[in-house]
């Protein structure tokens, strides 16, 4: 497929910018150098937030600035589907959804529609994405990511928002260079899944290797272990969760619903079969960071 082009000066909007989350996120994004050009709220058109205009609809914002190509959605979960649909219908191809607890069938439909129009939906429940030299949507990387992080050639792809940042900060301390970092979202179905994110990042000429964070039960593990997915570039996988194996099986763990099912193979075995495919796979952060340094 053809992917949406995301340049460092991509013009972004925030749907829900006037809410508590939107106010804070837009402040961070602007401070970090993101090119947020407007916000959307049908009830607050004509107002401004951090000096940026608020429009009633995405189409109105596009009249103001036809170069808008990215949106971030922070509206409450019941309104996410309508907001994303509005953005797609207005022609926006890259949609980030920060909101948590979006019904899974809403995400499935959005994913299907995005695919049909060569678009991408990052999330729901995604902390965001950043890409050197200066693109950011959402929160990843702290307040001034492009000052704190080192530019390089690793693509960090993660199913955990907190761990994406944890790993970015470890990379910053160890001076490991990153080109792009993506948090795919914590929900059952993500608009962009691990395999699609790997394929997309593999197509980026600036990416030389992958650093992946995967939680137990993610379908990617089986795909790699069975040889159905062979990353085109070197990869390092951090897969924690040994402690889950001593817990009652089938119970959801934490807010993201990670579940160790009755039929799942022990994690040590999963790691071993991934390593057999020539991919470094570990449960230790120290080993992971060292491997990423040398990958």
């Amino acid at each position: 497929m053809t992917y949406p082009r995301i340049s460092s000066d991509a013009h972004s909007i925030i749907q829900g910018m006037t809410g508590k989350e939107g106010l804070r996120m837009s402040e961070w994004m602007l401070e970090g150098g993101a090119n947020v050009v407007a916000g959307i709220n049908p009830k607050k058109a004509g107002e401004t937030v951090h000096g940026k205009p608020i429009f009633a609809t995405v189409k109105d914002a596009l009249v103001h600035d036809p170069e808008i190509s990215v949106t971030s959605i922070v509206v409450p979960a019941p309104f996410v589907f309508a907001a994303a649909t509005e953005a797609m219908e207005a022609g926006i191809r890259f949609i980030h959804i920060l909101t948590e607890n979006v019904p899974v069938h809403d995400v499935i439909t959005l994913k299907e529609r995005a695919k049909a129009s060569n678009g991408m939906v990052l999330g729901s429940s995604s902390v965001g994405m950043l890409r050197f030299p200066g693109f950011r949507i959402g929160y990843l990387g702290g307040r001034r990511p492009f000052e704190q992080l080192k530019q390089g050639d690793i693509a960090l792809i993660s199913s955990s928002g907190g761990m994406t940042n944890e790993i970015l900060m470890a990379f910053a301390r160890e001076r490991i260079g990153v080109h792009i970092a993506l948090h795919l979202g914590g929900d059952r179905v993500n608009g962009v899944n691990m395999e699609e994110a790997i394929a997309w990042c593999a197509s980026l000429p600036d990416v030389r290797a992958f650093a992946l964070f995967v939680e137990p039960g993610n379908p990617l593990l089986r795909s790699i272990a069975q040889g159905k997915l062979v990353p085109e570039k070197p990869a390092v996988v951090l897969l924690p969760g040994n402690a889950l194996e001593s817990m009652p099986r089938g119970l959801p763990f934490g807010h993201t619903g990670t579940i160790v099912g009755e039929g799942d193979a022990p994690l040590a075995q999963v790691r071993a079969s991934i390593r057999e495919r020539g991919i470094i796979c570990t449960d230790s952060m120290t080993e992971y960071v060292n491997a990423c340094k040398n990958v």
Binding site: P103, N190, F253, H255, T258
Partner: protein, 376 residues
């Protein structure tokens, strides 16, 4: 939410799938039977393998019901139960398993059919549907194609995560009937399903919960932020854990196990929770008898206010009235203020406290906690 058989079957009936004649009764109500002949008495619990566990009984007539109930009650013990289902016995010639799920990898529906349903299910064949209505076009036996289409549409219309019929019975006349139902709804869609309030499944929700877990569940329900306060599981150790971040919680749990620590619980406080809610939730965890140490561990936060959350947790230590070592491994927004205030709090309250930022690994932080606990 996982539905008990009775609720699941009502949903199937509403979408046009036949179910046996039967009635639902509260746990302590007297059962009346659907007719004079043989029937099934089925206790309405969420766990699987009810047949094998003796929780479903076929009786020859009304006179055998009370004996069946006594026997089932003795096997049930403390398992949460929503009531009973008394149902006609339906003669049939064949049993299948039919299930519709969400394929996480594809982000699409997946239909599975096993040619042998019941308690000894064989490996089935399954396929992904590009669209819920695709089941109508598949090469399936005619009656089953109809069932698959209805299940596919119900997944979307009723916001289901899983819909399984096992056994799906083929009757002598070639028609099909659902003899059991395992259905799970998507909690995130509850806002558009007011009808879910009427489910009889609610009292049976979850696995068997301990009283400690139930107290925490009540708190979560009251706070109403599923994404912020994750599920809490009681464990049999002596370290109270407050973890943050889905993935980081796994890293932290592995680290404490490697350091030889035994957690009293797992839980997760994520997504910038309010200080007061943190305080109340943490106090429940700290009040568990026998706590010897507290570990507050999370990833380098994207946007969580570290000062507010950490101080809410330390207030909860006072609320619980315990004096045990506290190790904090957190970083992110307002971390320096959090560290300053936490140290001051510890010196005033009189407990050992270490504050580790993001540069200290989960492993190193867990080891330090174990050292302090051993020394206290």
């Amino acid at each position: 939410m996982k539905l008990i058989e009775f609720d699941g079957k009502r949903l199937l009936r509403d979408i046009g799938i036949s179910i046996p004649l039967g009635s639902f009764f509260a746990f302590n109500d007297a059962l009346s039977v659907p007719g004079p002949g043989a029937c099934y008495v089925k206790v309405q619990v969420l766990g699987g393998r009810r047949g094998r566990s003796g929780l479903v009984k076929r009786v020859d007539g009304p006179e055998d019901i009370s004996g069946a109930i006594t026997d089932i009650r003795s096997r049930l013990k403390e398992t949460p139960c929503a009531g009973w289902l008394a149902e006609e016995d339906v003669p049939h010639k064949r049993e299948y398993l039919a299930a519709m799920d969400i394929d996480r990898r594809e982000g699409l529906l997946r239909f599975t059919l096993s040619e042998q349903g019941g308690m000894d299910v064989q490996e089935g064949s399954s396929f992904v549907l590009q669209h819920p209505s695709d089941a109508a076009l598949r090469d399936l036996p005619e009656g089953i194609r109809d069932i698959a289409s209805k299940l596919g549409q119900a997944m979307v219309d009723h916001d289901l995560l899983h819909a399984e019929i096992n056994p799906l019975a083929e009757l002598a006349d070639g028609s099909f009937m659902a003899l059991d139902a395992k259905i799970e709804t998507d909690d995130a869609a509850a806002f558009r399903h007011p009808e879910w309030e009427a489910f009889a499944s609610l009292p049976a929700s979850g696995r068997e919960r301990t009283s400690f877990e139930r107290a925490y569940d009540a708190f979560r329900k009251e706070v109403g932020h599923r994404g912020t306060f994750g599920n809490m599981i009681e464990l049999d150790g002596d370290l109270a854990l407050i973890l943050s971040g889905g993935g980081a919680s796994l890293m932290a749990l592995d680290a404490i196990a490697r350091a030889g620590g035994r957690p009293a619980n797992t839980c997760e406080f994520s997504g910038n929770p309010e200080r007061d809610a943190v305080r109340r939730g943490a106090a429940i965890l700290f009040k568990k008898p026998g706590i010897r140490g507290i570990w507050i561990a999370g990833s380098y936060a994207n946007f969580t206010d570290i000062r507010e959350t950490v101080m809410g947790m330390l207030e909860a230590v006072e609320d619980a009235g315990i004096r045990v070592p506290v190790v904090i491994r957190r970083d992110g927004p307002r971390r320096d203020e959090a560290e300053r205030e936490a140290r001051l709090w510890a010196s005033q309250y009189g407990v050992p406290l270490l504050f580790h930022g993001g540069a200290v690994s989960f492993e190193a932080s867990a080891k330090e906690l174990m050292r302090l606990v051993a020394a206290s």
